[in-house]
Every structure is written in C-alpha cells, then in structure tokens.
C-alpha cells in the first residue's frame, strides 16, 4: 500500500551548539567506551564446544514429529505445514488409517511418509504455527551435520526419533497433550466460543434484527 503524503512527517536534524560543533564531547565519549573495554577483562567468548550455549526458549532448530499418548505419530497428514512452508521442503504422502485396527480407531488419516529436507528448510517455524494438532515442532538442536544430502532428508522415523531424544531434555518439553484436531472437533470436552444459553445484551444474536425475527 502506498504511503499517503500527508501521513509522512519530516524530521530535521537538530542544529549543533558551540561545544558540539568542536566534536570534543563526542571524542571523549568514544574514548570513555574504549577505556571501559580496556579496563574490563571479563571474557565474553564462549568456549564452544566444551561449553554449550544457553539458547533462548523460542530458538528454532531441527524439527521433530510428536507422538500422542498412544505412541502413534500425532500428525494427521493434513499438509498444512507443507502448504505454509515458504521453502517447499516438506513432502507428505497421506494414507487412510487402518479401519479395522482399534489402535487407529479415532483417526481417519495419517502420514505414510513425511520427509523434511533440512537443507532446504529456512527454519522459519511456519510449519509449527500451521499445525492444527501440535505435531510438528522445532527443537533446540542446532548442531546438525550430515555427510550426504540424503542424510539430511529427515523421514518420519527420524523425526519421531528426534522427539524421543528431546522430549526429556528439559528445554523441549511436550508442550500440549492435544492430539486431536483442536477443541472445535473435540467431542468430549467442547469449549464453546460463544454464549451458551444466556446471551449478552450487546451480542448480535441478542438483538431483534428486524420485526418478525425471534431472537433466542
């Protein structure tokens, strides 16, 4: 959207006074910083790899595929992550869940194969955000190495093993126990977003929209 000319506010540089015009205060200010660094002998260099870095909690590293409480892959193969992925690095092949297996009774669909190309990935975290069942998550694993490109194609088993590896590490806990498609499809414990029987006076549905319409 183009910016409107009337919305633009022009800021002029404030004119320097006599002392500022000599540049001496700025020179002494800079010397003060230099001096502080000279006087300070606190080490800031991290002794990696002997010393591991402390990463922020929102750090986005290697992906994992979470398991639900039955140990199955949580992923429902909806391909929202593949749709959201700006780098097109996620390839999913879906399959219908075995109908006669009670283990899969509550599921329609699951991923037959789920491959993330960790080399193509830009670690933006859009997949994590798109996932309706909190299945795909980015962990704190940052030191990912591989000898071949093929090794960096993480398949379903490898992604699940990342989950097994990281779930007890402390920094990548299992964040939710939600394995279903969110509260809207949760039949047993449904949280309504709107009013149930009592309707607030300011709610649209409480107002008589026109004569002849019975509201509530």
């Amino acid at each position: 959207m183009a910016i409107n000319a009337k919305d633009v506010e022009w800021v002029e540089e404030t004119p320097m006074n006599f002392w500022e015009a000599t540049y001496l205060p700025a020179v002494f200010d800079g010397l003060l910083t230099t001096g502080a660094h000279v006087a300070n002998n606190r080490t800031v260099t991290e002794q990696y790899p002997e010393q591991q870095p402390k990463l922020p909690t929102h750090y986005r590293g290697v992906h994992r595929l979470n398991r639900d409480d039955k140990g199955r892959v949580k992923c429902v193969a909806c391909m929202m992550c593949a749709t959201a992925c700006p780098a097109h690095c996620i390839e999913i092949v879906a399959q219908d869940a075995p109908k006669d297996d009670p283990h899969w009774a509550d599921r329609d669909k699951f991923p037959k194969s789920f491959v993330i190309d960790e080399l193509k990935c830009i670690y933006c975290g859009m997949c994590e955000e798109a996932c309706p069942v909190d299945s795909i998550e980015l962990t704190h694993i940052y030191d990912l190495v591989g000898l071949t490109r093929q090794e960096m194609m993480f398949d379903k088993e490898k992604l699940l093993s990342v989950f097994d590896q990281t779930k007890d590490s402390g920094i990548d806990p299992i964040r939710t126990h939600k394995g279903k498609l969110g509260h809207a499809s949760d039949f047993t414990d449904l949280h309504t977003l709107g009013p149930a029987t009592t309707v607030r006076a300011d709610d649209r549905s409480a107002k008589a929209v026109s004569s002849g319409v019975i509201s509530n």
């Binding site: 879906a94 669909k109 039949f187 029987t197 002849g212």
Partner: protein, 559 residues
Amino acid sequence: MATVLVNDKSVEIGPSEKLNCIQAAQRAGVEIPSYCWHPEMSVVASCRMCLVEVGDKKPDGTIAMQPKLFPGCQTPVKDGTVIVSNSEKVKAAQKATLEYLLLNHPLDCPVCDQAGECGLQDYSYEFGRGYSRLQEPKNIKPDKDYIGDQITLFTDRCIMCTRCVRFTREISGTAELQVISRGTHEEIDIFPGDPCNNKLAGNVVDLCPVGALCSKDFLYEQRVWWLKTKNSVCPGCSTGCSITVDQNEDVLYRLKPRVNEQAQGHFMCDEGRFGWKYVQSEKRLKRPEQRANGQVVSRDWETIFPAIRNAIRDSLIRSPNKFAAVISPWATVEEAYLLATYAKKLSPHAKLAIGPVRVVGEDDLYPKDVHGKPEPKTKFTIRAEKCPNRRGVEAVMQQMQGSVIEFSSILEGVSRGEIEALYILGGDPEGWISDSDATKLDKLKLLVVQDLLESAASRKAHFVLPGAAWAEKDGTFVNHNGLAQAIHRGVRGPEEARPDGRILMELAEKKGMFHAPTLRKEIAGVVPALAALSVGELGELGVKLEQAAAVEKPQLQTV
C-alpha cells in the same frame, strides 16, 4: 417480458422460462446460498440455506412482502416478484441455518478431502456466525467405508441435503442410496447388499457439498488447493463430456465434469472419470525409436524426422500409389488435418483411412427403471462408440479424399500388396490391433507408428514416435452431435513423448509452432464442414458445427 426485482436490481426473464429465486438472482449477479438444490434434480427445500424474503410488486407500484422467509429454490418467480437476499432478516436466517448445520459437523477440515472446495467452509465464511453455542457433545455417527467400489461415506460430515439420494433416484434411476432413520439419527446409507456401483455413481461425490461422500480413488491423494485445473473433454466415448483435468506437478489426479448443456449436462460417467489411468501407464511409449532389422538404430528426435522423411520419399519413388496414412478417431481435428495434408502433399494418391472405431455394446441410457430398462426421458447417455473424435477425423478425410476408408480395407490392401508404406497415427488406449492383424503388417516395407501405448503394431514398426495422451495436448474433439470442443494441455508427457501436433508439424516441416487456435482458423478455411472452427478459440462450451453452417442460410421466421 417478466421483470423480477432482486435486491433493487431488475432482471428480465423470458416468457417461457421457469426459474426459481436462486436462478433469477444468479441473473442479477446475486448469489443465494444453497445446498440441497440442484438444477437437474427435484426440489426438496430441506437445507433451508436459501431462505429469502419474497414479495410482489402490485400494478399500482406498491410492494407487498410476505411476512415469512421462503426457500428460494422452491419459490418460482413471475412478473413483479421481489426477492430480497441481503436484509438483516435473511442474514440472521442464514447464520442460524449454518449454526444448525454445523451443530454435529465434526469440523475436521484439516483431514477432510473436501477442504478448499467445501460448500460448508465457503458459506460459513461468507454467511456464517463464526461461533457455536452448542455445549453438549456432538452426535457422532460411524463412517461407512463401503458405499460403493469407488465411494466412501464419512457419515458425521453429512448435512443431509439428500442430493446423492435424489441423484440415484432421478438421474441414474438405480436408487441405491436412501436416508435411514429419522430426526437427528438420519443417515445416508445403501440398501443392504446393494452397493452404489452404477456407472454414474462417481457423480454423487461431486454433488456432495461437504466432504461426506468421497472418491476412494482421490482420497488423501492431494489437497485440492494444490491442484491446477484445465478445461478439457473426456475422451471415453463420443458423448464428449466437458470436464476439468486436475493436476499437480505433472501428475494427473482426477477428472471432474463441467456444466455444458450442449455436450452432456452436469455429469459424467465413471468409465470416463476413472478410466484415464493409462495416461500414467508403464506401457507408454517414452522415446522415439528407429529400427532396422529388428535392432534399434536411433532414439533421437532430431535424426528420426529426416530419416522418416527419407524413408517415405524412397518408398514413394519405388511405388507412388502404395502409401497410406491411418488416422485414429482418437486424434484431434488438428492432427488429422496435419497428417492428411502431409500425406496428400507427398502423393495425391495416398490413401487416408480412419483407425479402428471401437464400439462396445449399445448406448447406455439413464435413468433406468426398476428392471434396468432405460426410461423414456433420457437424462444421460454413455455412448457405445468409445472414441472422442470420429466425426472430426471423418470431416477432414471427406474433404481431403472425398471418402472415408475403413482400417480393415487398409489391412486387406497390405496383405494384397497394394500398400507398402503405412503411417499410423494412433491414440486409442485399448488394444486397437490384434496380434493376428498385426502379422499382416509384416509385409510392409515401411511402417511408422505414432501412438500412446505399446501395441502389436508398435513392436513391428520401423519408426516409433511417442505421442501424447489427450490430457497432454491442445486440440479439438468433435462429439457425436457435431459439437467441437477444445482440449487443453494439462500435464507433460512422460520422458521424451511429444504432443502429436508438434510431431506432425516438424515431420511435415510446416512453418511455425503448433498453436491450436491458429491451426483451427486454417482448417476452417480448407474444410467447409469445419467452418465453425474459424473462431479459433472455442471457449469453454465449444462450438456447434451445424449452427455455424446454418447462419449462412436464411433463417425461418418464428412468430
């Protein structure tokens, strides 16, 4: 002329037209949402999505509105009818209806195949309330995996519009589907032991406005927003149903019918819908081949074209009257024209023959009655002639040589030694030549086969050219009724296969690139029977050959 007012816009309606409020509103560019109504089927007005305010404009100019909302699908319009679809009262009704339809809907959009093309999603977004007031657990009904060989039912997603039930009762006439139980226990089901396997069964999946009825063939293959769609024509029979071809990354995933009253109406048959798998067959010809004494000499397009030209020229020098070209009724009009002009240019005595026209059984008419006999009023026909373009190829041949020669007479000619060089343009995916017929071809001095799949003929050929399936090329098909429709290139062929039109242009050393609309204009000038193609672009619905010819004649005055 009747005038109808739709949200203050006036629409003219013809004297003999019988429209309901939804159709009249469509004329005015206003969408009245609906689920259960379908133009081809009876009206039940059960989904209540199309409730509108309806009134009457009196001769003195006053408007009297009905006090209650009316279902638009069930309310016919007449002169002076007033339809209001954007009042607060109507919007409140739409919100309430959607809230009701969503009460027991599982909202499993992420795993539902319909997501992205779902009526419930679209209308909820446009007309819905955005939240539910239901606190009780949802009513879940068990899924039914087997409604038919190609159909599965996710019972909990169903909104009971009963379109599928009415389709099997009114269009296919086979009546396999029904509603069992009543009230909140209502479910779609089949009669025990009578699955929905009629030849039109796939249409119930298209008709389902939600993701309840799903096609097993397409189930979980792709998310629909990844599919790229091209308009095309089903090549399964001479009906020439208008369809769309859905592909992603050069893989064909499904065919869906497109509305075209001149071709087939709203639907398509399962033979066409699921019968395209040969396009991805392993038996496809993938590379050009030049053979000498049974050994492959070359697999290179660049060397094969001059080699074929030389081989044909040599054989014409030897015996100028012994060259023939066979054009399959699966070829497009453009390809038939290119090959026919090339053959006639090489030798005016060249024979042009139409490939085998495959006819299976008799025309299959729907709806059927309880005994399986067709009812008097036909609503859908699966034709016995299983090739898409016999009329188009014949029209070209009639013009080029004055008659159409059958393939069998070419075979006889070959065995009598009257034909020594033969160019076959194939395309029929089902064995169009038997092994015994193919042995007759042994006598030929030169056999060029341009085809889709490996066949008895392609194994004997001196030159094999891998052509394209109908979904991989541009062109024109003329159906049984003389309707010329355009097909468009949706996917690329396997490996080195090329569109047939391009092969023929390069072989004939015709200037320029293959461009179907340009070529159509050229054909229209040469072949009077195909003069209607002069428009170039045939549009979505195609062009009737006869109508364009009729324009030149004085038309009868109708009173």
